[in-house]
Amino acid sequence: MTEHHLQRPPAEISHAEELARLREHDRDPRPPGWLLSLNAVRRFILGDDALGISRKMVAPVAAIERMLVTLATGRGLMLVGEPGTAKSMLSELLAAAISGDSGLTIQGGASITEDQIKYSWNYALLINEGPSPRALVPAPLYRGMQQGKLVRFEEMTRAPLEVQDCLLGMLSDRVMTVPELSGEHAMLFARAGFNIIATANTRDRGVNEMSAALKRRFDFETVFPIMDFQQELELVASKSATLLAQSGISERVPEPVLELLVTTFRDLRASLQQGTGGGEMDKLNAVMSTAEAVNVAHAVGVRAWFLAQRSGTPADLVECIGGTVVKDNEDDRNKLQRYFEQKVARREGEHWKAYYEARHRLP
């Protein structure tokens, strides 16, 4: 498997070199079953200039340290936060660095069943031979326990409650029973290094609220949107440039337009960022994540280039932002209009004026 043939290579392949370098220089003690020490994993995620390791996440150091300690002390790690705060990316990076494999992933959803998590059977063999280890088809959790690796459970709260609860035994006793088999195969004891990283959306709060018993077995870590304006702006600029290049467009979205975009997103994201002046705003139903901002920036670039062969303007931004923010929610439409009438109108600068003038393009 080489990088060239893959649309999106997993973290352990795209960062293989860095991981190898870290392993080489890693002198610190490693928790049992880990490929790297805690310190090395921290450097892998937050970057280290001395070793030439790039920074892969904008996140508080203390938060990353808490996550590593949770995983090293054998408790499940639950990453919660607004959609688009890079929870999944974080869990992928952690799994790649700690176990060298980010592929043991369970995608939570309404249709997921227990056998997609634990194991199922090869029915031809099952009928032919009866239950045997050969007929057993392991699912990610089984493989993670068997090989001592991290298992990722994405969007955990989307999975039905009974499916969530089948994790209880595995998390506390670290053993999976396979009642169909007998002898040594009836019990699968987890090897050192096995653990679970789950992610959940705060927007899904209350959809399938986790049971108290399951919550107790996880340590919660909230992933916040990027706090620093400049960092977010840089991230949006670089990511959107990459996306535009992939779409075959050499024209980047101009800096002032990106500033408008990021400021609008941060304003509408509301309550978390206090002290932006003029008071707090109401939270929108729509997701105002950095990832979404990158998509909008991409859309602005694509729109301007393919429709008129020019770079993006504030007017393009108004068109694209409308589609992202409003979706089908009448309330959000009102809030966005109010934002333009009352906040955008008062900002200084050419680009803000142009942005305000284009407000009739809002849906």
């Binding site: 002198r27 610190d28 805690l38 310190n39 921290r42 450097r43 937050l46 280290d48 508080p60 150091v61 203390a62 340290e65 808490r66 590593l68 300690v69 949770t70 090293a72 002390t73 408790r75 919660v80 936060g81 959940a200 705060t202 709060r205 919550k215 107790r216 996880f218 340590d219 919660f220 870590e221 909230t222 916040f224 706090m227 309550s271 978390l272 206090q274 002290g275 002046g277 003029g278 008071g279 707090e280 705003m281 109401d282 009102n334 109010r338 009438e341 009352q342 109108a345």
Partner: protein
């Protein structure tokens, strides 16, 4: 963790390495045997330990401490058997124009406190060497021992800390500080129990640690300060301190050994400054002169200094909560209870104590905290400490572990220890409790015999001067005409007493708002037994009535949240004539208003601010730019919230209309003051908001009516007014019966005067009401009644006249406005039912028309 990034070397490698450092080193080698300057962080247990140890080791002749020089003659008061924390409260007030007050708080673990105690124990001469609190340099400083006192210092400190943090991989001022300085392996054995024959080896080890700590602190502060001269006020303070050092070093023409304890920010500059102080000053036998009080405040108080200047310093009890960094911006080390425990028993014991306290608290409050959690917290703390390279877990390690193990949900606000200032809204309840346990509930207590401020005398003098003494036996009632200057002064004094909750001064009637139209006030004066006791207790707030009332309001300010409560405080301050109180309040109001989420709440702040801005002449508040700014902010927020289209609940409807009325008043005023600052308020934008609100189909009928009424009421030409009346008619006709009354209520509350004389409007109204069928009418009735309640009885009479005119009747309007006959409701209902039956029978036989 050999190659952990958390090594101290980064401090040395970091920025600002300059020639300055060399100068510092040179000056300190020259006099290093004689003058030792220890730059500390206020309220740091590690620094306190260092200071105590250095004084014991070097036995200096003088111990000089950053603190108010005017307290020097009374230093002995500090050595009475007090219970800490306590503070030196210094104040200066010159009438209404100038008021300054600042606190210098001490806890057991304050380096300054240890310097005092150990210095005296070792027989050194003690002195405070900083400027007094009334000096200009302290104009904006309320806490002498805050980490950061002005924006220049803040800029410098945060730049250095950010860079250092980046290199070490640590974020946050407190986390960085603890990692660098509080984590040294200093056991408690080096502090108090020196005399108990400590184990020689460990004593040597701990001395080595202290030497390392001392070197680190010095390097850290040299890098932080660089060659920055600092703000004007910091320069003035450093000049004063340097003069003292130079004087003490040469005093009596001897070569004295001097140890200086001061904020780390000042230390490098002092080391540079003092050797250059003029030699003739050094020969002086008297201590450096304190600047002259009158000169210093002459500029501020218009030169009209008279005998009313009151100044003084007193020891007052302080509380752990106030020491906490989470209490406000201007404070020192966070989590005083934790620091106290570290001071008393070392890091390990403090951690155990902390965990125990938190578990107890959480169980008390019925929050989840099981034995398994406790185990998990323990393991995580140790692991985090190891990962971060700490020998003993530090405060941040404990907190991070607690958050990870106890919080079982997504957070809505960042963890409290990752930012400065009060807890944010939406902080998890578990975290709120944890921070509260860490703040502790220590309350200081003064030793008996400590001189207290003479509030009692001041109050009785003021009462005598204004002829307000309460009679000893019975009570007397006085009426004050508020437009009269003398009476107004009396009213203020009484309001100040009321703020201090002194029994015996009760207001019987009077205006609710400081600037309302009511013109008289009634007070009952009596002299209950508790009065004197209350005055003694209130003495901790200050020495004069005005000071005490301000301090009391400031205390209330700390506990008040929400725009409405804060506006009430502003109102009380205005009633009591205390403009000096307002700056802190205004900034809090700013914050509260920006984060207010309900339209109704903002009406009162807007009305109070507007009133004070227009009419607060006597308070010196009229036309104040700060008030205008606040007014602007409130208007902005109000307009922003006006466009939330939700229903208005019945109990909110009065407040809702009051907010619209306040808005209307302000808009009218702004329209009329073209060319004045008030005229620059965004009237056009506000009117556009009203337009949109009045038209929006999703808006509550009450608000639509109110918005329209507001437009009508501020319309300045007839054409515009006619248009708005037309839209009012359209609005009422378009609404369903249930909403009719609400919209009408909004309209009449805001524009009854404009509407009640318009025949077309009255005709439509009559038509709409008479078109209602019985069920609809009953549904609309309560709101209609509420709407007509806005009309004074005279206008109700006029309305009745118009209705009768429309009906072609010549009866007196009294027939419509007279109260119903005194028949009870049941009888009325019975009769009405009979009437209905009769009509039904007539209809049945085809006799009804």
């Amino acid at each position: 963790m050999s190659d952990s990034p958390h090594t101290f070397d980064a401090v040395h490698q970091s920025s600002h390495q300059s020639s300055h450092q060399a100068e510092y080193a040179a000056s300190s080698t020259l006099d290093s045997r004689r003058v030792e300057i220890i730059g500390v962080r206020h309220h740091s247990p590690a620094c306190a330990r260092l200071v105590a140890q250095r004084i014991r080791d070097s036995r200096p002749d003088w111990v000089l401490i950053e603190g108010p020089t005017d307290f020097n003659p009374r230093l002995d008061e500090l050595f009475l058997p007090h219970t800490l924390p306590l503070a030196i409260y210094s104040f200066c007030s010159a009438g209404e124009r100038l008021h300054r007050a600042s606190w210098s708080p001490f806890a057991d673990y304050s380096p300054e406190w240890q310097a005092l105690q150990v210095g005296r124990e070792c027989g050194a001469q003690l002195a405070f060497i900083d400027l007094p609190a009334w000096h200009d340099a302290f104009a904006d400083i309320s806490n002498r021992y805050a980490d950061v006192t002005d924006s220049e210092q803040e800029r410098l400190a945060s730049a250095y800390e950010a860079e250092l943090g980046r290199q070490l991989g640590i974020e946050g001022r407190d986390a960085l500080w603890e990692h660098l300085f509080e984590s040294a392996t200093l056991g408690s054995e080096t502090s108090e129990s020196e005399t108990l024959e400590p184990d020689a080896a460990s004593a040597t080890a701990s001395r080595r640690d202290l030497a390392e700590l001392s070197a680190r602190l010095r390097q850290y502060f040299i890098n932080l300060r660089g060659t920055d001269p600092g703000s004007a006020s910091n320069q003035a303070r450093e000049q004063m301190m340097a003069r003292w050092i130079a004087w003490a070093a040469q005093q009596g023409q001897q070569q004295n050994r001097v140890l200086v304890v001061c904020g780390g920010y000042h230390a490098p500059m002092l080391a540079q400054l003092w050797p250059s102080i003029e030699p003739d000053l050094r020969q002086d036998s008297a201590a450096p002169a304190t600047p002259n009080l009158n000169e210093s405040i002459a500029g501020v108080s218009d030169g009209s200094i008279d005998s009313t200047v009151a100044t003084g310093s007193y020891l007052l009890p302080y509380t752990g909560k106030r020491l906490d960094a989470f209490h406000g911006y201007a404070s020192g080390m966070p989590s005083p209870a934790f620091q106290q425990a570290v001071w008393e028993g070392g890091l390990q014991q403090a951690g155990a104590q902390l965990l125990q306290g938190i578990m107890q608290r959480l169980r008390q409050k019925k929050l989840p905290a099981s034995t398994a959690d406790m185990l998990a917290i323990h393991v995580r703390t140790q692991a985090l400490a190891r990962l971060r390279g700490h020998v003993q877990p530090l405060r941040n390690d404990w907190l991070d572990a607690l958050a990870g193990s106890l919080v079982r949900d997504a957070l809505d606000a960042p963890l409290p220890w990752t930012y400065r200032g009060p807890l944010r809204r939406g902080t998890d309840p578990v975290l709120v409790e944890i921070m509260d346990v860490l703040a502790g509930d220590q309350v200081g207590q003064l030793a008996p015999g400590t001189p207290l401020p003479a509030l009692q005398h001041a109050v009785s003098r003021e009462l005598l001067a204004l002829d307000l003494q309460p009679p000893l036996s019975a009570s007397r009632t006085i009426t004050l005409a508020l437009l009269d200057t003398a009476d107004r002064a009396k009213s203020r004094v009484l309001h100040r007493l009321a703020i201090l909750q002194i029994p015996g001064f009760t207001r019987l009637s009077g205006p609710n708002w400081a600037m309302s139209g009511e013109r008289s006030e009634q007070w009952q004066l009596s002299c209950p037994l508790e009065q004197q006791a209350a005055l003694i207790e209130a003495a901790i707030y200050g020495a004069t009535l005005a000071d005490a009332a301000i301090a009391r309001l400031a205390e209330q300010l700390a506990h008040s949240h929400g725009a409405s409560a804060l506006a009430q405080l502003l109102n009380r301050a205005a009633q009591a004539g205390l403009p000096a109180f307002s700056p802190g309040l205004l900034s809090r109001l700013h914050e509260a208003i920006s984060s207010e989420s309900r339209f109704e709440v903002l009406g009162q702040p807007l009305a109070i601010t507007h009133g004070l801005y227009r009419h607060g002449h006597e308070l010196g508040m009229a036309d104040a730019p700060a008030l205008l700014e606040l007014l602007q902010l409130t208007l902005d927020r109000l307009l922003w919230l006006a466009e939330v289209h939700g229903s208005v609940s019945a109990q909110d409807s009065n407040a809702h209309l009051a907010a619209w009325q306040a808005l209307r008043l302000l808009l009218r005023d702004a329209q009329a003051s073209a060319g004045l600052p008030l005229g620059e308020l965004p009237v056009a934008r506000a009117l556009a908001v009203c337009q949109r609100k009045a038209r929006h189909p999703q808006a509550a009928p009450l608000s639509r009516g109110a918005a329209l009424g507001c437009l009508l009421s501020v319309a300045h030409d007839d054409q515009q007014q006619a248009d708005e009346i037309h839209s009012a008619i359209t609005l009422l006709s378009a609404l369903p019966a249930a909403a009719l009354g609400d919209a009408l209520q909004g309209l009449l509350a805001l524009a009854r005067h404009e509407l009640i004389h318009v025949p077309a409007f009255i005709a439509t109204l009559r038509q709409l009401v008479s078109a209602l069928d019985e069920a609809d009418f009953i549904q609309a009735l309560p709101a209609l009644r509420a709407a007509f309640a806005w009309l004074p009885s005279f206008e109700r009479g006029e309305l009745a006249q118009q209705i009768l005119h429309l009906l072609g009747s010549t009866a007196s309007p009294r027939t419509l406005t007279a109260p119903l006959s005194k028949v009870d409701a049941e009888t009325l209902a019975r009769h009405s039912w009979r009437e209905k039956q009769a009509v039904a029978i007539l209809e049945h036989w085809g006799l009804a028309n």
